[in-house]
């Protein structure tokens, strides 16, 4: 995490994509912001990383990033995982922008499957990597039909899935990519963030953009937009809770990852947001397994 970022590499246009492509993506993003939750098709390009690794997110970031931006990239909450390190050094190399691991310092955050624990502020942009943008895809395979369903707000089918969850598990067992209604109209997949992060989508002051490279769609939740998680009256939406605090920083309010320590059943729970956890530890908070 402390390794110096590589220097700017010459021979590439600023932020890798050519200006026309960036403009095309920005146009799609403007439309997405204008119609919150609506999936806007765009001409997705080949990027120097495989599908499923964030080709959508990286294109959105490339289209938006400017020389003065400060970039943070997280993967499942951590700044130091392969995907995050590589995308961060990619932009350091092709755009020469400053990078950071601090959520508050960043102007642009590209994320895979988490929303940082530190509350976002106005002016910040959060870019999500999306594998499957269509929330109704596994229920209705026809694209023409799902588009009509979105246009007419026919979302009863999504409740059939939640109903089936309760039948089988006694509760709504969907724990990530939990479907939401944006701005009282469009049903949206929030990308595979844990449902723990769903309440953070609601009326968030930051601009949230979603990019799906393989599926060639972008969509957006503009600042202060209503985002409601689907549920039943008698089975209301609720987020995950843990019985113990973070073993390193002692927080009881964060999303925790379970880490297996040995094959004797020893395990620990730690914050999935590595930067948030480290900041707390520096501030003197200690969990029971802290060094």
């Amino acid at each position: 995490m402390n390794a110096p970022e590589p220097a700017l590499q010459t021979g590439y246009n600023f932020a890798y994509l050519d200006e026309h492509t960036k403009r095309m993506i920005r146009r799609a993003l403007l439309k997405a912001v204008a119609i919150p939750g609506y999936q806007v098709p765009f001409g997705s390009r080949e990027m120097p990383l495989p599908y499923g690794w964030g080709t959508g997110g990286i294109q959105v970031t490339a289209a938006l990033i400017g020389p003065d931006d400060v970039l943070k990239v997280i993967d499942q909450g951590a700044d130091d995982t392969t995907n995050a390190v590589n995308i961060r050094s990619f932009f350091a190399r092709v755009a020469g922008v400053a990078t950071t691991t601090s959520t508050t310092d960043a102007t642009l955050i590209q994320t895979r499957h988490r929303i940082p624990e530190t509350p976002l502020a106005e002016g910040q942009i959060l870019v999500f990597q999306v594998p499957i943008p269509e929330p109704l895809r596994w229920l209705e395979p026809r694209e023409t039909e799902t588009r009509t369903m979105h246009a007419l707000r026919e979302y009863g089918l999504m409740h059939v899935k939640l109903y089936e969850d309760i039948v089988r598990h006694g509760r709504i067992a969907t724990t990530y990519d939990y479907p939401v209604i944006v701005n009282d109209h469009y049903l949206m997949r929030p990308s595979p963030i844990p449902k723990f992060d769903n309440p953070k989508l609601h009326r968030n002051p930051a601009l949230m953009l979603f990019g799906a490279g393989r599926e060639k769609r972008v969509y957006a939740v503009p600042p202060y937009t209503d985002v409601r998680s689907l549920d039943f009256d008698d089975h209301p939406f609720s987020v995950e809770r843990w019985e113990e605090p973070c073993a390193l920083c002692g927080s009881t309010e964060t999303y925790l990852d379970e880490i297996i320590l040995d094959d004797q059943g020893q395990r620990m729970f730690v914050c999935s947001d590595s930067e948030y956890c480290a900041t707390r530890q520096e501030a003197g908070h200690k969990g029971e397994m802290a060094a």
């Binding site: 009509t148 007419l152 026919e154 009863g156 089918l157 409740h159 059939v160 899935k161 109903y163 089936e164 309760i166 039948v167 089988r168 549920d231 039943f232 009256d233 008698d234 089975h235």
Partner: protein
């Protein structure tokens, strides 16, 4: 049959597939609570007619008018898509020949019945479940099977589940495409009994496609006989079956062993 307000008015309805005739110049009226049977050999345009009536296929000419709740007789061609789709899942039902086309095979029976309720905005799990249970009982399926997927049901049960799934929103008109075709004779009899009971109890209008004149005899008030896309004979069921006028109807009636 007391002649009440018109439910469905069909005038000169034609549907072509290129140069081929699906159905041609079909006209009839349907009243609430009336069971109308469309009979004919395979390829005679029965299913095309049924799908055109339900506006799943757009007719090339002619009109279908339906007595919309609160709006009176309305030409379906002028109805916006949103209203038509709402009609499909509330005031109408469609029972398919193959239950795999009419059911969601991978979700439980309860979810199948509840789907329409959730589509019209029901958001209470317990209530949806209770209603699903009631309907299972009504169509004579053991309530203990509520949480089982239709794949574990017999053919007859699947067909009855399809009925329950359609009737849960209390439709006034149900389209049925050969609902008994895949069932063996004893199951068929029970299914027809159930259907007869439900149509009279719920004052349900039904347009039923079948090639089986025995089904028509048992259920239908009126009968339409089709051949090569055209209506060759129409009238009260008993009248048509006991005293067929058109040579083709005569052939059809005489070819059935026990009609």
């Amino acid at each position: 049959m007391k002649p009440g307000k018109l439910l469905l008015q069909v005038r000169d309805l034609s549907k072509y597939y290129g140069n081929r005739v699906g159905c041609e110049r079909v006209s009839f009226d349907l009243f609430p609570g009336e069971v109308l049977c469309i009979a004919g050999e395979s390829g005679s345009g029965k299913s095309t007619l049924l799908q055109t009536l339900a506006f799943e296929l757009r007719p090339n000419s002619g009109s279908v008018c339906y007595d919309l709740r609160g709006e009176g007789l309305t030409d379906l061609a002028r109805l916006p898509d949103a209203s038509l789709r709402e009609l499909w899942r509330t005031d109408w039902g469609f029972v398919r020949q193959n239950p795999r086309d009419g059911l969601r095979m991978r979700v439980s029976a309860g979810a199948n019945i509840g789907e329409r309720l959730m589509a019209i905005g029901e958001r209470h799990y317990g209530d949806i479940r209770l209603q699903a249970q009631d309907w299972l009982r009504t169509v004579e399926i053991d309530e203990a099977r509520l949480d089982e997927a239709p794949t574990s049901f017999s053919g007859g049960m699947q067909q009855r589940l399809q009925i329950a799934r359609n009737l849960v929103t209390r439709p006034r008109l149900v389209f049925m495409d050969e609902p008994t075709a895949g069932l063996d004779v004893s199951v068929q009899a029970r299914f027809l009994d159930l259907l007869r009971r439900l149509t009279s109890e719920l004052n349900l209008a039904v347009i039923l496609v079948t090639h089986d004149l025995a089904v028509a005899r048992l259920l239908a008030h009126r009968l339409i006989v089709m051949r090569q896309g055209r209506v060759v004979e129409t009238g009260l069921t008993d009248q048509v079956l006991d005293d067929p006028h058109h040579p083709y109807t005569q052939l059809l009636v005489s070819s059935v062993l026990t009609a």
